[in-house]
Symmetry: C2
Subunit: 329 residues, 2 copies
Amino acid sequence: MATIYEVAKLAGVSPATVSRVFNGLGVSEEKTQAVRDAARHLRFSPNRTARSLRRQESEVIALVIPDIENPYFTELARGVEDVAQKAGYSVVLCNSDAQIEKEARYLQIAVAEHMAGVILAAAADHTNLDDLIATGRPVVAVDRGTGYDIDGVVMANRAAGTAATENLVDAGYRRVAFIAGPELIETAQERAQGWRRVMAERLPEAPVDELLRYSSFQVDGGREAMEQLLAMPEPPDAVVAGNNLIGVGAIQVLTEHGLTPPRLGVAVIGSLPFTTLSPSAVTLVRLPARHMGVTAAKLLLERIGGDDQPARTVVLRNEVQPATAVRAV
Amino acid sequence: MATIYEVAKLAGVSPATVSRVFNGLGVSEEKTQAVRDAARHLRFSPNRTARSLRRQESEVIALVIPDIENPYFTELARGVEDVAQKAGYSVVLCNSDAQIEKEARYLQIAVAEHMAGVILAAAADHTNLDDLIATGRPVVAVDRGTGYDIDGVVMANRAAGTAATENLVDAGYRRVAFIAGPELIETAQERAQGWRRVMAERLPEAPVDELLRYSSFQVDGGREAMEQLLAMPEPPDAVVAGNNLIGVGAIQVLTEHGLTPPRLGVAVIGSLPFTTLSPSAVTLVRLPARHMGVTAAKLLLERIGGDDQPARTVVLRNEVQPATAVRAV
DNA sequence: GTGAAAGCGCTAACAC
DNA sequence: GTGTTAGCGCTTTCAC
């Protein structure tokens, strides 16, 4: 690969001038042209590694997510990528697999590679960001908080839990269970709180402690919890799934038991992009994952650009898509 | 961040020795210990940018895929990441969105960042890899060929098309349609060829030209093609979906028309990880996407390690999971 | 507006 | 086994 020196020589200017041309700084018309011609001739493109070393910052953003196979996070990634790309940044997608050790490794790499910033969907409750923040690298939290005073974009989780539950209660269901996700994860807790509030208000006689189940945020977690719920002496007549994959698992089990929604009412917090279900059978509380990515990327780019205002948290509204089918009574 | 010089000073050795310790080269026991202690003290971690500049190679692999939201590709990514991570490499996931321009940009970045190698699921028929290959960077093609003489990992696409179709014919279906995907994409063509062969042998009277539809490799593509097929004067009694998303779209439309499989037979080339369908209703020709990623990453690491043998192409076998439910006659 | 030159942090010759 | 040193390709003062 050609270097700036070769381009300079061919164009009859100094290396500094070549650099200026490629960074849009003040260079005379004619020299600019000469440099561009020479560069094209030599198929020169600036060595980003050298640039990063010198500038102490690379044009790369790290996006750390706990599950690359969950469409929710790939949709988020999609949003981040779209914005980042337009601003000239590339995105390194780091899959922490919900393990804090893997996450820590990636965060360390982000520092060691002088990445411009990090968008983090934390693997667990308390991720240690001391090192990262100490370097001054901007970090934006998405989906989940971090306990640090940094920018964040989150869903209206409590409202989502409330909306999902209310929808089922309005439809006439009386024993509404909730499969929450991991007990230690903030989003799961908050969504469960929304459910709990509606239950307390509208169905005070229901045994909430039995109707609340924790699980993983995976299809299998949803399956297991749903099986347990169906095995209860008095099973629920409806269920709220705490995220998309739990929803998939729960619906799978219901289908296997011949209880396809809306025979048993189902509301899912999240979207089911690849489901083959009739869209009217299930209530969806859609979470704008792509928008979350877009917003987070914008916040991060502002910080990278030197924005210095106090930390902001953006809460994204969700959109309820009610099931229109009613159960046969 | 501390540098190698500060560590050297604190440990009472030269910078070169510090470097050697961190690269596992021959250093005496005691100095090694001194360096490690000093490094820990200063929370030193080597600056990867500087290392990359000096070595002319970074510990980053680019994975370029056409659709980050397709579970097939995230599963592939998962496989790549698992292998890469263990070998100390990070993976930059680049979403080309099936656009050759975006793809070209990412490939250029891969060069400019001195990435160690590229795993490419080509966006379209003929991607230009001249520059990339000229730099000597190893490239492994996945899922689709590139027209270059490089390592590759592909699915047994023709066999997948054959298996899917035979399964439906064996089940008694007589008008088996095929929704192929984009006409210009190799995998779509090959799978269609498999279908065509079975049709010619087993159902020679069927109007194959009407029963073959091209579409995008997206849910919407599957939907549109399925609608068209159902609108035919003599609609098919079964359909093979050329990839997972087409399958989702087709099944959605069928469900909406009250033709849930197996009333109309469905075979999908690919897996449906997030579907809520009963597993017995649809024949799946599973494509080992994760395994493809693992294999590609291993091949790439071998090349990065200096392996110089002629280009290899690995063809991955698929696994048929037949529908067990039969249609009511 | 332009050039000369230092230096980002590391590695790899080379000398001892 | 270990230290000295040059240099990877770029950006950025500092002069002019």
